[in-house]
């Protein structure tokens, strides 16, 4: 795996991690849905990076 691939994946993982951590204390269900709409494409993006 190339260094740039690791670097870009690390950035995405960090963003996903921040989202999940913030979701943990979030009470409103609608906000969870909104976070999900961000996380799902981010994970797909993570799979796409090569």
């Amino acid at each position: 795996m190339e260094l740039t691939t690791i670097f870009y994946r690390a950035i995405l993982l960090m963003v996903i991690a921040i989202l999940v951590i913030n979701m943990y204390d979030e009470k409103k269900f609608m906000n969870h849905i909104m976070s999900g709409m961000v996380i799902i494409p981010l994970v797909l993006r993570l799979l796409m990076i090569k």
């Binding site: 943990y24 969870h32 799902i40 797909l44 799979l47 796409m48 090569k50």
Partner: protein
């Protein structure tokens, strides 16, 4: 429960991500190509362009060798992975046909990376299914260009290095604008370079690039020929007309650079040709794109446009079925092989068991795939 919403939403997100992620990863799986009895060897393109090794652009080259000596031909399918007749015609040669005379080299997935994704905003299907000898078989419907996952970012303007020709940035991933390519260029340029090196090293007599175009595109049901192949192309045209297949000849424009029919001829000794059949599933004016209309070639919108005289091919309710388009490609290649033999008998190339145009149209292309 304190984190009930968190748990519920994470379960939903995990399920959706797992389903969509699997589908996403599956797009990287390539079609299995079954080696036919006529294939004597399989090489990798990276043997001719070492910088391609281990990349998504490295692809297989199949060799059919006749018992009798003759000329040599290179056939490319899948330069544009959204033009299935060229891809399937090349597959049919690999899986069904045998050479009788000469050497036939086939690259069914010339731009392998282009088979791993779709053109965005086209609503294209990722696969289409054909009934073959082994049952229903699924084939990829890919993109015109290299996958941006494998080559990015695109420049604002693509400058063809040898000529200085300027094209839109997306064309930097178009294999048929990348010739003669570069050993250390972009992935697309590396593929182009590998193909040029292969032609040089094998001293290929004639080279054919199989394409499709939308019915509203002017160069269609046509053979594009470099100036050094015009006589052979004219003879091939007559051979095709004898089979009842109408086709036109277009001279390769000297000022349109990077294309196979121009650069193969300018940079190597080969005689290059490019064939175009009518593919409604890639047209701008088509209706809904479905796996069925990739195969049936039927589209009501094109029937209406044909009545208004806006198309460059006849178009009726019967459409342009995939089997008919594959048949055109096979007959085109055969006609060229015969034609070169008419000019230089020692360079004649023949298939031992090629079906006729009518047989492919009647039986369907799947009959000739394993």
């Amino acid at each position: 429960m304190k984190h009930k919403n968190f748990i519920i939403s994470m379960v939903i997100i995990t399920v959706i991500t797992a389903i969509s992620g699997k589908k996403f990863i599956d797009l990287r799986k390539m079609d299995k190509i079954n080696k036919g009895t006529g294939v004597v060897s399989i090489e990798r393109l990276s043997n001719y362009a070492p910088t391609l090794k281990g990349t998504a652009g490295d692809t297989d080259i199949y060799h059919l060798k006749g018992d009798k000596p003759g000329g040599s031909i290179l056939v490319l399918g899948g330069t544009h992975a959204n033009e299935p007749s060229g891809y399937l015609a090349a597959l049919m040669m690999v899986e069904h046909l045998k050479a009788e005379k000469g050497d036939i080299y086939i690259i069914p997935q010339a731009n392998k990376s282009a088979f791993t994704h779709n053109d965005s905003q086209e609503g294209n299907e990722t696969h289409f299914t054909i009934k073959t000898q082994s049952g229903d078989r699924s084939f990829r419907f890919g993109s015109r260009a290299t996958n941006p996952v494998h080559q990015w970012p695109d420049p604002d303007i693509y400058i063809h290095e040898e000529s200085g020709q300027k094209l839109s940035g997306g064309e930097t991933r178009n294999l048929n604008r990348a010739y003669p390519g570069k050993a250390n260029g972009t992935l697309t340029e590396k593929i182009a370079y590998g193909i040029i090196e292969f032609i040089k090293e094998k001293d290929i007599d004639i080279s054919v690039d199989l394409h499709e175009a939308s019915p509203e595109y002017p160069v269609i049901n046509a053979m594009v020929s470099h100036e050094k192949g015009i006589e052979v192309a004219s003879s091939a045209l007559m051979n095709m007309q004898l089979e009842g297949v109408e086709i036109g000849i277009e001279p390769s424009p000297k000022n349109l650079r990077g294309l196979s029919h121009r650069e193969w001829g300018d940079y190597t000794e080969t005689m290059p040709f490019l064939f175009e059949t009518a593919n409604p599933s890639q047209g701008r004016l088509r209706g809904a794109t479905t796996p069925e209309n990739i195969i049936s070639g039927k589209d009501d919108y094109y029937v209406k446009l044909a009545k208004q005289g806006m198309l460059f091919v006849p178009y009726t309710k019967e459409g342009h079925p995939l089997s008919q388009r594959v048949a055109r490609q096979i007959v085109s290649v055969q006609s060229l092989m015969t034609a070169i033999g008419e000019f230089t008998p020692e360079k004649e190339i023949t298939f031992a068991n090629a079906p006729t145009y009518d047989e492919i149209v009647t039986n369907g292309v799947g009959t000739y795939l394993k």
